[in-house]
Subunit: 358 residues, 4 copies
């Protein structure tokens, strides 16, 4: 089930960076939904490359074509919905060289071991961040269905390099305060500007930087999530670690909880307008894996882009000796700004899946 | 599949804190293995309560009884192995009161919503940390099979409250340097002593503390893990978020990677003794979700025990108004020391699963 | 997932004929159900051996003990329900001899290949029909939940040897006309008597006979079942082929449909009391895998018991040469009468699963 | 998982009769395989419509386009392989009328209930036999991989209407004796001719006929298949009931076993050339769900095509009253001849899946 996410809203992703196309097959969409293609396109544009000086110059129209799953009125019909995005802007390269000297921080080497040298080396193959485009398609559709149920998913860049965006209230996050500024989704426009500078500074030195994306989901009903291994955190974490470059996932107070006392970390239950809420949201929206009705708060740490212009040390697999490598090609000096919609998409798919499971 | 972990080494866990028994059914164990019951008992004793002044005074023999899965020679026979642990030391309480005023930081409230008030409230029911006992059984058996394949899984307490154990070399962790000291697995005995003091200090104040467990697995072959959502990180994270109190999971450099440059974070490939290794191990053992042959390095953040003696604010569900709560019962002021074998067990189950899948 | 049935009502069966116990873990039971243990015991008694001269003299109390999944009030609590049945009446034998000369028609040989000689040979191990006892437990519980939803599952012996029970109306089966007579569930008591005679005649000759069980389920709502591989027939067939000795499964007109014209086979839609029904039920309750609201009609063919007293030809695996074999032990000369509740159980589990999936 | 088949060789099928395209995503193909597109096209041509006067006049080029899963050398690379077949020859119709009066024997009515009227009514939507084209693609690829392992899958028409093809030796089926004659795969050319006549006779009367396909697979190693619900029969049956019109599945002697004595049905084990075989093959290749090394023998009963030219009785869903219906459009008077490669494909996918699971 390596490329499949979800039980009821089941998303299977396929494609490689340079295959003829990439796409997704989605099972379990409720029948009778007319996908809002404009909203989907707008969402996917947030992820698309080439939108600013911060990202790779590779440009892709990235317009998904739905080839199954709709009836004659353009509504979902209960059949799996398949969407395909053509890969139109691929460049040829000398793949023999790439197969020999694996890029540090990339999957080239372990994939070559796993697939006995048959892995698709072009542009990172199936491990390319390009595969997040069909995930964003699935997420955009999920967001549409979630919106109908009063659920909103929104993420922002929490940190790039050593620059942090302003804190947000976990119990009542001001999602509308997140705005794109300097090409980065933040609540603090000045922080966004300094983040952009940090990215460009790294780029100028042939280097890259990492960061943290923080995602909120409001309006989730209490009582969702299953048992020991299919609680909200299990599912969200499994999904987020499918996003390339993610190396850490935490909920609510997260790692900071390690340093807290129980009396400070526990979120007291309170009545508010006839409903049970918590004062504070260190728990991040789930207790025992089951949603509490409070906002989901999750952060994903993304490593700096491994593809850097600087010369790096590697090995020649054919010669069995150390070698030097300079990675050419079009790469983001920082994937974090474009990862914001991707994280939203992954979270949206998981929440919709839990809701449809009931 | 809420209580099931793994595809090939499939562990299904059942039970509640106060049900007649808890246990696990394990499918997919290779046939012909004679479980080393002494080693299993020794491993499970590391998790068992009542071993030191740091943990709950509840004592359980916790001896698993294997009721299926072995042939007449005591070897695994290809049938699912079922192991049962009786719950012998349970105390009655006034459950009506517990049902009314949910404990902050516990699953009482969301579980009541999910199960419409029918959840087992006694001792936390299925959400109790007691359910980690059958997970440890499955992990102990997995460790036996992994050891035969040259793979070793070992964890330690990295942090409790604000006290940190000494750093370890991610690329070549000295697992034998991890020793139990003051009832805590650490490499630095002095740090362990101060951690124990911090726990007892919190306990004395009717409070609790959290911490971080760091786990290593050495000897894993390169090339394991599948695609986008079943890579090593996806699986390990899904398993670890099944351990009660875990609120964050990170691999290798983890969240610290967010602040690093690519040139510093990338682990160069090197030849060593004819094999490809990396210099450094910021990646934590997997790239693109596929194992590199370097040690798995994962950290889990555990929140402070929510059950504290101090009076806390909560609500009365029956009266729909705010209420005060004092949690009685036997609770660990810090679950982190006992979580060390649990984290090892979860990681061992996942690695064995990946190995058996090939 | 070899021993697991169902997505939402997930039944995992464990045990061997001579292991300390057999049992089932059931996930997904709605919370708040108090299992009717008397009804469960009565249902399981229909399957239990030793009830008549037609079956094996092995007697088992077969009283399932629920060791998890209930709250303090004896209701399902949302946690997996585990039920255990002890194996109390097992006989020792010379297993070395059994390992060497596999019984024709049994799994001894392929299981020895699969498990490299470590399979549990005692009493057929995990392949024993005894494993249908926990399936009946799961089915009895499923029937309780189905009854609350107006759904009734009832089977009968359609055929033993060359004797057929009277036909029933597929569109409106008179389930109450099925009665146990001469130890066999039939609508025609005289047919049942002759079936019993045929079984005893075979037994007297050291031989065995096969037969067909026909199962009906009424009250199923229209619109259940999923797509290409999880329609009603796919699921029911997968479940029924898990019942030992089943070699064929057919729905509605089944194989007879091969000889029919479309004009005769098609069941016309009709309005009746404001509802859409079909006149006739050759389709057996599902079209395109989706339930129509008409009764499910399914038949399972069971082969004659392979264990017969007569000497049979086999091989000695150790000597690599042909050998003779006389099977001793306690065996049914015909499993068909006892298979009736087992088929009901399998069908009930599947229907409940589909209903809970929605 | 409604449209997904298999654990290791996982085939997910998508599309509707009149959607822009249909296709399949296949996970788990071993890396390094260059698909033999000529062999795939030849196999798919056996299923394609319009090849003879026996089938629908709808013609489709049905050339699958592989849009992902191959590396730059045209070999499988470990990524999911996606293949797409365009729907080019679809005709518009008055769908409103089709939505109102469901066709007897079709999924129109239950699908309308399930999907609340949003099902794709055009050409049967996702329930169309056209969806067997991507299944054949997956099966053709599976057959290529099986052939490399010495495994051969071949089916024939066993029966159409009341005409039977000659019997074949289950223990040693002469697969090369199966030849296409009069557009029908049989061993007896005269039987094939009479079958073709029976089809045309039914067609001339505006009617249709059903039949039985019998499939053999030789060269399967002993020891494959898993436990109670994932044995060979469970999996093959689940797959075959995914083929439209299949209403019964039986293995080896199948339903005829019901009338046999154990002494006649049991297949004695024998040594032959150092290997264990059985004399006879009433068991059809699996005992206890585990393959024995003998040929798989399975038969699928197919109902007569429900779409017939004759006027039929149905209902008007909008008016809630009985109505008459005459089905227009292009339909096979008998789907059995074209189902032969489809059955082969389903069986091949299952066997490959079991082999890759090991």
């Amino acid at each position: 089930m390596s490329n499949t996410l979800g039980n009821k809203y089941r998303v299977t992703i396929f494609g490689q960076s340079h295959s003829p196309a990439i796409g997704a097959v989605i099972e379990g969409i409720p029948a009778g939904v007319a996908p809002d293609m404009e909203a989907i396109a707008a969402f996917m544009a947030r992820r698309a490359p080439g939108n600013s000086s911060l990202s790779t110059p590779r440009k892709e129209a990235d317009i998904p074509k739905i080839i199954s799953g709709l009836n004659e009125r353009g509504e979902t019909c209960g059949a799996p919905l398949a969407a395909v995005i053509e890969n139109t802007n691929t460049r040829s390269q000398d793949y023999a060289a790439l197969r020999d000297v694996p890029r540090p921080g990339h999957s080239d080497y372990p994939a070559a071991v796993k697939f006995n040298g048959h892995n698709d080396i072009r542009g990172g193959g199936q491990f390319s961040a390009r595969l997040t485009a069909p995930l964003c398609f699935a997420g955009a559709l999920a967001k549409q269905l979630l919106a109908e149920r009063g659920i909103r998913v929104r993420a922002r860049v929490k940190r790039i390099a050593d620059i942090e965006d302003a804190p947000m209230d976990f119990a009542d996050p001001a999602l509308d305060a997140i705005l794109s500024s300097s090409g980065i989704d933040c609540v603090d426009a000045d922080a966004a500007r300094r983040m952009a500078e940090a990215i460009l500074a790294a780029k100028a030195e042939g280097d890259s930087v990492g960061g943290v994306v923080e995602c909120f989901a409001t309006g989730i009903p209490a009582g969702l999530g299953d048992g020991m291994f299919d609680g909200m955190e299990n599912r969200v974490a499994r999904a987020l670690f499918g996003v390339p470059a993610v190396k850490g996932v935490e909920f609510g107070a997260g790692f900071a909880a390690a340093g807290m006392r129980g009396s400070a970390h526990n979120d007291p239950f309170r009545m508010e307008g006839g409903a049970v809420i918590t004062a504070g949201n260190n728990h991040g929206g789930a207790l025992g894996g089951i949603t509490t009705g409070m906002p989901l708060v999750v952060r994903a740490a993304l490593k700096p882009t491994p593809s850097i212009a600087r010369e790096q040390r590697s090995v020649s697999l054919s010669r069995g000796e150390n070698a030097e490598l300079a990675v050419r090609g079009r790469h983001d000096p920082c994937v974090v700004p474009r990862a914001v919609p991707v994280v939203e998409a992954a979270v949206a798919c998981v929440i919709l899946d839990m809701i449809l499971e009931g």
